[in-house]
Symmetry: C2
Subunit: 306 residues, 2 copies
């Protein structure tokens, strides 16, 4: 062994069902390098996680143990090692990270636990708790509602640094299923976008959520026998679904301070919808908040070992 | 040629996107034989329809031309021959059947046109118009609402023998997508059924349709961190979706005479939901109504040729 030095100070890992992303972090917190693969939790058996991780981070390792902070579905029961849920109300991170068994002694891996809620309704998150922790690290006095739009959008009430309660909406997954797998797929194939059609459809289901079920098939019929364009149909599909979500989540956002955390294309869409309701949300990028949260997790690890 | 006699008087064909079903009908209207294949419209090129039909009806043909009455997606633009939509308000059947080109001179095929609606909202049907015609042949004085539950459930206002207006709900397709392709698939895999869970979920979205989006992910979370069983989750998924449909279709069914036409398992479900709202619908089996409608179509053909 040559006493080879590591390329970075620690490694942040965002490991979801369908993706694996790793970031080499310098001592000053800067991202020195990124790597990614398609080896998400969904395609890996337990013994395949370590090789999948080494495949993308090996160039960053030296001779000594490296802290690796991971979040997401990697910590689910079907993942590498289960990181049992914390129960809300709770701080988004505590120090009880899960530690998977590894063969390579340089891998000092910690997995952030998800958060579950039993009341008022059963709900779970994995990964978003890290983004919430990152958001609170950047905005320590925030008190209000975080909305994290994505495949499974979360609405989260945050107060005094804790997750008070939360609610999940399958809006992103519904959009993907309906636009790719349902009869509507014939009618929404386009990259174009009609912002007015989005706003109108959203206003309709937000004020009358019972119209969601009634209007979906009209996106197909409108293309067949009227002049509905794919750009209008696609924007309407998105608007109908987000409007129905906002109708359901009204107790969360009405009259509250709101922050959006996610991919900019999505947070822009939600921001435009909320602005039409007189709410002006703060926006933060999801990937940035994940890194900030994993950094907070590593800080808590260092504090815990003092 | 031997002067071979045909096995039946005419042939009824129900030809949808994913199925082909044919019935040999005697002179007295009795079904003498049935045959089916998986060669639905969705898997056939235009030149493949005639062989697919002959494959299952050849044993019923003699030397002479045979009347074959067909309905469903076989008449769509992507089908055998387009049978252009009639426009509602209209009678469910008129005599303008489409006639596909055939090589076998014994095939005297007629395809029933679908029905389109431009106002109050764009909508289309293909196949249901034949069931409606069959229902009206059995109940000639019916005035009220027909509900035809299925992949794409139709609510149809019928008056004076005409389709006045209609509205389509994608409830069946949504249930299939969510129960087989979404994250909920992990939570609803069972053949068991919890009638109470169905009724409770249905009552919830029927009275508060904005709860649909809020409750779907709870079917997954409830199985992970609470004690929700697959039988409860599956029945709740169905109840949430049908409740949201009934909320949207309330202007159709509230205070009206209702008849349900479809597969008994589905019409029973809708009947139980409507009975809980104080509405007692008449039920008819969908396949029987399709045959009655195709018989009415053939009768109109004979009258037209007098």
């Amino acid at each position: 062994m040559s006493g080879e030095r590591a390329y970075c100070d620690w490694i942040a890992v965002d490991w979801g069902t369908s993706h694996l992303r790793a970031y080499a972090i310098a001592g000053d917190g800067a991202v020195k390098a990124e790597a990614a693969s398609q080896k998400g939790m969904g395609v890996l058996a337990p013994e395949e996680f370590e090789p999948a991780l080494l495949e993308i981070i090996a160039p960053w390792l030296g001779d000594q143990p490296m802290d690796i902070m991971a979040c997401g579905m990697v910590g689910s029961r079907q993942g590498w090692t289960e990181a049992p849920y914390q129960q809300a109300p709770c701080k988004p991170l505590d120090a009880s990270f899960a530690v998977p068994q590894v063969r390579d002694p340089r891998l000092n891996v910690r997995i952030v636990p998800g958060v579950k809620q039993l009341s008022p309704a059963a709900d779970v998150m994995r990964g978003e708790e890290t983004q919430i922790a990152g958001f609170l690290a950047c905005h320590p006095r925030f008190d209000g509602i975080l909305c994290l739009p994505g495949t499974h959008t979360k609405w989260v009430e945050v107060s005094a640094g804790e997750i008070v309660s939360f609610q999940t909406y399958m809006t992103g997954e519904m959009f993907a299923l309906l636009s790719k797998q349902s009869v509507l797929r014939h009618s929404v194939q386009t990259d174009a976008w009609d912002a007015e059609a989005f706003a109108d459809a959203l206003a309709d289901t937000l004020s009358r959520p019972e119209r969601l079920a009634a209007r979906l098939f009209g996106l197909r019929a409108g293309g067949l026998v009227a002049d509905l364009t794919p750009a209008q149909a696609r924007a309407q599909l998105s608007g109908l679904l987000i409007g129905a979500e906002l109708a359901g989540a009204r107790p969360y956002w009405l009259g509250r301070q709101i922050a959006l955390v996610g991919a900019p294309a999505l947070t822009d869409l939600y921001a435009s919808a909320l602005k039409a309701q007189g709410v002006t949300p703060l926006c933060e990028e999801g990937a940035k908040m994940t890194l900030a949260g994993l950094a907070a997790a590593r800080d808590s690890l260092k504090e815990g070992s003092k």
